[in-house]
Subunit: 241 residues, 2 copies
Amino acid sequence: MSSIDVCFSPELLHLYDLKGKAVVAVDILRATSTMVTAFANGAADIIPVMQLDECLQYATQGCLTAAERDGVKAEGFDLGNSPFAYMNGHIKGRTIAITTTNGTRAIRMSEAAEEIIVGAFLNLQAVADHLIALGLDVIVVCAGWKGKFNLEDTLFAGALAAKLQDKFTFENDATLASLYLYQAAKADLVTFLRQSSHVQRLENLETNKDIAFCMKHDVYNTLPVWKKDRLVDLHAAPTLA
Amino acid sequence: MSSIDVCFSPELLHLYDLKGKAVVAVDILRATSTMVTAFANGAADIIPVMQLDECLQYATQGCLTAAERDGVKAEGFDLGNSPFAYMNGHIKGRTIAITTTNGTRAIRMSEAAEEIIVGAFLNLQAVADHLIALGLDVIVVCAGWKGKFNLEDTLFAGALAAKLQDKFTFENDATLASLYLYQAAKADLVTFLRQSSHVQRLENLETNKDIAFCMKHDVYNTLPVWKKDRLVDLHAAPTLA
């Protein structure tokens, strides 16, 4: 039986052996929710990068550029980190270079894994189905908040563990804690999260609508995975040559 | 109003500013539970050290030596890490040099703090009362398990947050998560913990009795604090000159 484990922060990732395993990278507010939304709205591929200037250079290659720092869109970029900015059809077929505070880091630091999948509540069932079919040991890598534990990524880990609990063993206390927290919170995730000072900071930036959207389960069937140097959607409709 | 925050692992401690704050170091299974028990049974002071050989050298200075590695007493030492080994009166008035896998590390890595207090369920109320009187911002430093998150230290953090919640603000998601987990678990901490693979490993070492004891609340009124190079009990009866 394969196992599921949870890493609460990229700062703890060196304690986990990723080799031969499937990583689910998660940054619910809002990087991975936004990436899932982008693919659902036709993005061709997504290049996550660590630095603002590196990201901006992709504009010269015909990419759209997206950046967020401390919760707001960075100056000079085409897109920020709100999923709603990716919904009006203008991203169809485009490559998006994106840098975010925590989410990009979780993805790029997981490159030793056999497979990296981008997870969000928005594509929870698609991720769970894929992991069951894949049969590898799973490590959920939470982006956290500036290296620290955060609730929303942990709640996603708990939601995924709930989906997988009949088919996977639980390796550690982090998975048990995530599952308990999700069970306590699932009746009303938004109200539960509103107690969090980190979420309160985001709310001050008028992202209430984003937060409510990012808590919705199974809105999309997209399955972003890491291929060589970028994310592609495994569930994308094949393009006609 | 002072704040309370929780650090789930010494591996995350660099993200926290300890200056001017009170640290509560916790390693429920079993280092800090054992230290609290040792003081309650008359230990004069406790010297936590990182390495086995450094610890053994204290024997030449008339100290008792105590060591545990991977859950069992290390060879050549007077004491292991079971609180029951500290109860038969032979430690009264003695200095104990102790090294443990995770707990010593949490204490020694917190030396930048204004005050370091050793916490366990066994002296929970004494720690809470002291923190309220002290009025400093509090960071609970969980020893964790080989750098990773563990449930039992988190449950202690939640129990302490429950005691302090009317008088302290909650700074971060880790404190909220700890409090929720404690509320879910407090009716039967032992059964709750038994799901943990880490606790199951300890149980294989026939430490069931230790685990049940370490979950008991407020058995002792001891208050171990760090003074210069060792732990002393602030609540110890004054010795007669």
